[in-house]
């Protein structure tokens, strides 16, 4: 479903992706782990062209995501879920889900707020899958953070995509809500046979939900396997300088302490 080879990308002088090779089969639930700045987000964004990779090959759902002329055809197949859910606050929940259909309907009809009966029915089905059928007519900004993210999932499902990319979908939620949201994403994509690539910070969620875990560090693939292979040594490779960064921050604090003492004297 997804074929990546020697993918690279830089922002200015900063090399974010340094030649990534990866193959993901249809229906897999893949979790990508890595520190902030390891390139997880960029990796995901390249897959539906919110970012453009510099080199390598990238095939998603049978479409060349690097050179495809028809960007919309790619994005129709590849839905995205964001950390800050990015739902439109003043629209109703149902309409937010229907925005997932925009690429597949005519501009004129949608701009006039006309959606086919089938699309509305599909949107309601998607809301049912994330347990929000009863909120269809509520205004989206009246929902809680976890519910908004579930609307984000429903919007992605409404695209009827082959692939869902989730960029730290639960990073700004409390642990209990986060697990619930992950559960909805996991169950819906399993039942519909959608391939999922999900960036996460929580290793325990990766163990719980992933068929397969991929570790990124400094723009390189450092782990590719299932949860059982995720031992201490591997985690050390995925999160390499956890200790050295702590030392740095401690060093950064020291002069400030001096300064504070100086003021006191």
């Amino acid at each position: 479903m997804i074929r990546v080879s020697q993918l690279s990308k830089h922002y200015g002088g900063n090399q974010v992706l340094r030649g990534i090779d990866l193959q993901i089969g249809a229906g897999e639930f893949v979790v990508v782990l890595g520190q902030s700045g390891a390139g997880k987000s960029t990796f995901l964004r390249c897959m539906n062209r919110l970012a453009r990779a510099d080199g390598g090959e990238l095939q998603v759902a049978g479409i060349d995501a690097l050179d495809a002329r028809d960007e919309r055809a790619l994005r129709r197949q590849v839905a995205m879920i964001f950390q800050h859910h990015n739902v439109v606050p003043r629209l109703s929940v149902l309409k937010n889900v229907l925005t997932g259909r925009l690429a597949s309907v005519s501009t004129l009809a949608s701009v006039l707020q006309l959606f086919s009966q089938a699309d509305v029915e599909l949107a309601r089905q998607c809301l049912l899958r994330v347990g929000l059928a009863h909120k269809a007519d509520a205004r989206t900004d009246s929902l809680s953070g976890g519910q908004m993210q579930r609307v984000g999932i429903a919007r992605a499902l409404a695209q009827q995509p082959k692939v869902i990319l989730a960029d730290e979908p639960v990073a700004s939620l409390d642990p209990k809500t986060a697990r619930l949201v992950m559960q909805y994403l996991h169950d819906a994509s399993r039942e519909l046979g959608i391939t999922v690539v999900c960036n996460l910070h929580q290793v325990e969620f990766a163990r719980e939900f992933a068929d397969r875990i991929v570790g990124l560090a400094h723009g390189r693939l450092v782990y590719d396997g299932d949860a059982s292979g995720l031992d201490e040594a591997t985690l050390q490779r995925i999160y390499p300088d956890a200790e050295s960064t702590e030392d740095e921050s401690a060093a950064a604090c020291a002069p400030q302490l001096h300064y504070a003492n100086g003021l006191g004297g």
Binding site: E71, R75, V87, R90, K95
Partner: protein, 272 residues
Amino acid sequence: MGTHEYRWLVSTPESLRGWAVSGTLLLVIIALLHWSAGGAELSWGELAAGLPQIGDFISRSVPPDLDILPKLLAPALETVQIAIWGTLLGILFAVPLAFLAARNLHSNRWLYQGTRQALNVIRSINELILALVFVSAVGLGPFPGVLALAVHGVGMLGKFFADSIEEIDQGPLEALRATGARPLQVIVFGVLPQVITAWIAVILYRFEVNLRSATVLGMVGAGGLGFELVSSLKLFKYPETATCIIVITLMVIAADMLSGRLRKAIQGDGRH
């Protein structure tokens, strides 16, 4: 005893240099005010000498001639009609320009700068001057008034619309683009829902301003109550002038209260 109970908590300059700077600043301000007073020919003496004349003017205006009220109904309605169409035409042309003048919707810097500057230029031309131009172009009557309000309105509304577009949350727009939505769809489903209440508040405010301006535009022949006001003034029918001023004031107060209440209702709606 009293001096010990109070402390003067005004921060004063601590050094000689600080005092010098403050003193110089004070002198500069005094000099500026004196210079402006000279240019503007401020003269309490003349004002005092003119007071009897003002009193005379007022005494000749009272009591206001309320008999002409029925005659003022048509011009008053015309003023409202001018304001309505002046506002509406302004909105129609301001909306597309606002999308071009919003930095976050496209990356063409020249288009952005060009539209912004054009809006600034349009806004800087006074409505009365625009009205004079349009009166000479399309003749006397309410229509040049509508055009003057519309043109000035484009400048103001366009700027405010664009500013509120630049303030919106970019996240939903990115999400919509990620679904493959086309630019127009992104605007309708991502931008408009986020700006609509701010826009309505600005439009109501603009209508209020237009109503006020429409009463004055008549003075240069662009229809409405102002026309009646100036005619009565020229014929020395001061009681009629007084009635015109009262009607204008009441209309402006009514528009102010109505739009204030509507704006409050809309913004309150956005808070829950």
